[in-house]
Symmetry: C3
Subunit: 299 residues, 3 copies
């Protein structure tokens, strides 16, 4: 693997290879003790704020024994009018092997992947626009298969702000590839009808029927201009102790708006535990991705 | 030890254990060469600006071979409306073992210590409100005993902005526990009459008589609304070559307002050397605290 | 070597020693794998924004196995009114061996080098005012000798914003020391007549005649108050496929203003490759400088 641009660019075999390697890291790495001989250098360039994803990549890099360099994108010499390609090419020349990028603009990372870098730079998409967040989808896939086994025919219900969620889009794409039955449930103002591979069910009770997994989505306030009718949303779409089916596992990409998408008491109960397992699994997935990408190219 | 919340929560035995371990690190660690097998991960969350204390914890962590993660609290997903507990719980899930926190609000860290974290997070108070800064008191205790031996009956004079100083409060608590005779000396507008275990003497000459140690305090301009009569303060309370008793050692938590709390010439003289030894001792104390906390809990 | 303040303070022998060590690192360090036994601690204090130079020093430090501490100078306790010397003395006490400093003011670093630090602090100039940027000159010297061999009598043409460029000043000083024939070429508003050791030729065609190396300079927009007549500048002074002599190598300290100082197509051609080799060489040079300075003083 040279880059990780989106789910589409990964074959099913590659996805399963990532999962296998993540499993290995979960079992064999005492967190905080792993050091490898070959040390990659990872640059983090987050054009949108992030604590969790950035920290997760940083932790995964360190656990692999890689060096991590955090760039404050606002302060970089981008300010000096230099294009992002020239910056990346320079970071690469200085010794950066992998650039982990988050950006608000769709296609930003793919465009950069088409350029020719002096010393074989790899790019990883850490969240792009409203469309793709592949490592989040991979960690959700990892978490789902850990708890449900094969996803063949499993009903996975995604509840909430579908249209603004890159997590939803990447998940739908990946989960449907493994023949899960993905159902989206949201008010009309959160629907995205351009999606393939997902059906819609507006009624929450109906949607949750026989669900194997329920995935709440974060309402992306920062990407929404209009006012959300929160009281109505909570009344109609909040996941809570009453409506969560007994056999279903509960997930959320975080950070949760407590008592909006999910009731606070449900989050803090036994059934909320997988929500906090997800970020932990994310480290193993990102170790696997970084490892495969670092080893996949002559440097 | 699971957390370090304040001096009160430490027994005398624990304090002496920290001091012993700090001594070990002072003797056996060539600065910059130590690596341990078990590698903890330390997150630094400073809600107030700090260069020294933050750097000291960072250095101590690196010397123990721990990974350190610096969070810019202003930019974190706290901005996304997530509560601090959820953030910490997530950092913990991702692999953070210890969170070092500075905050302006008293009780902030203790409140967080009562929560239940998914993977056994430890908290360290790196300065909180106007009341507590336990690692500073520990390093001052370390420095004092190094130069004075037992503090039993020793006269330690604390001069300056007592009321706004968390350094003073934690020091008074700790030093009086080891039976030092702690005397505070300051103008009335810096007095804090709620303090136990310290006497006041408004006259500097009187206060300094027979002192074994004199500790200047930084005037906490950033926590003071009203105007300080500096000329008068300097005239009445500045420590300088004339009034510092011959046998007394001179300390200051830094950063010093030169020629205010202490005359610049005194700082730069032989007698000012302990002021620059204090931050060095701080690294050994923080190594000891981090080590005991990391080893003290199953992770 | 205790400090690296400027080119003037280096003997020719020291320069050649740095180059030899950089060569060693280029040959023997698989980027990203090197660890040394003695671990220095390097603090980066950049009072002016920088991505490349800062990252280069960070990478060089990590490759030597040194710890690196990035200070956000704006947020430091300098804000608390503490002078830079007291801050540095403290960082030194806490464990910092080498401070790498960039500052807009000439003489800033030399002044600091005259102070007496508690634990033998070394200072490295990472760019100061409009006058000196010694590690850039060293890496350019390294790059030039790699491609041209001895610089004795070689014609090196520096084109562009000479007056605002610390890169130009340090290069002229260093290259003329090794008997290169340094010619500056620029419009009158970029001339600096106080320079020794360089001749001027206003006409680009004339200047480039028989050049062995052509070094474009970045127009330092951020240090220029008046408006630059860009169209005229580009017409008269842009380096491009037509005017670059066949035997000359092409260099630029970066970041390039594409299609201003150099045509974009020339940068992206085979002949532009050395521009991206320069930052790579910079890592080896900075490894050599850090190494010699760390080993050169008892710590």
């Amino acid at each position: 693997m040279q880059h990780l641009l989106d789910i589409k660019s990964l074959s099913n075999d590659e996805i399963l290879q990532i999962v296998e390697l993540a499993k290995y890291y979960e079992k064999n790495v005492v967190l905080g003790t792993q050091k490898r001989k070959n040390r990659g250098s990872v640059a983090l360039l987050f054009f949108e704020n992030s604590t969790r994803t950035r920290f997760s990549f940083e932790m995964a890099s360190r656990k692999l024994g890689f060096d991590v360099f955090n760039f404050e994108v606002q302060k970089s010499s981008l300010l000096k009018g230099e294009g992002i390609f020239d910056t990346l090419n320079n970071l690469n020349a200085i010794g950066c092997d992998i650039a982990v990028i988050r950006h608000s603009q769709e296609g930003f990372i793919e465009n950069l992947s088409k350029k020719s870098y002096a010393y074989n730079l790899s790019l990883i998409n850490a969240g792009e626009g409203k469309k793709s967040h592949p490592t989040q989808a991979l960690l959700d896939f990892y978490t789902l298969t850990k708890h449900l086994g094969s996803l063949e025919g499993k009903k996975i219900v995604i509840v909430g702000d579908v249209i603004h969620s890159r997590v939803a889009k990447s998940n739908i794409e990946l989960l449907s590839r493994f023949n899960a039955n993905v159902v989206c449930c949201c008010p009309s103002y959160f629907e995205d009808w351009s999606l393939e591979n997902a059906s819609y069910e507006a009624n929450l009770e109906e949607a949750l029927k026989d669900a194997d997994a329920v995935m709440g989505l974060r309402i992306q306030k920062e990407r929404i201009d209009t006012k959300i009718p929160y009281a109505q949303y909570i009344n109609d779409y909040q996941i809570n102790e009453k409506n969560l089916p007994e056999k279903a596992i509960l997930m959320h990409p975080g950070p949760v708006n407590r008592d909006v998408e999910i009731s606070s008491s449900l989050i803090d109960s036994k059934r909320g535990e997988i929500i906090i397992e997800q970020p932990r699994n994310g480290v193993f997935i990102r170790m696997a991705v970084l490892d495969l990408i670092f080893e996949g190219v002559q440097r």
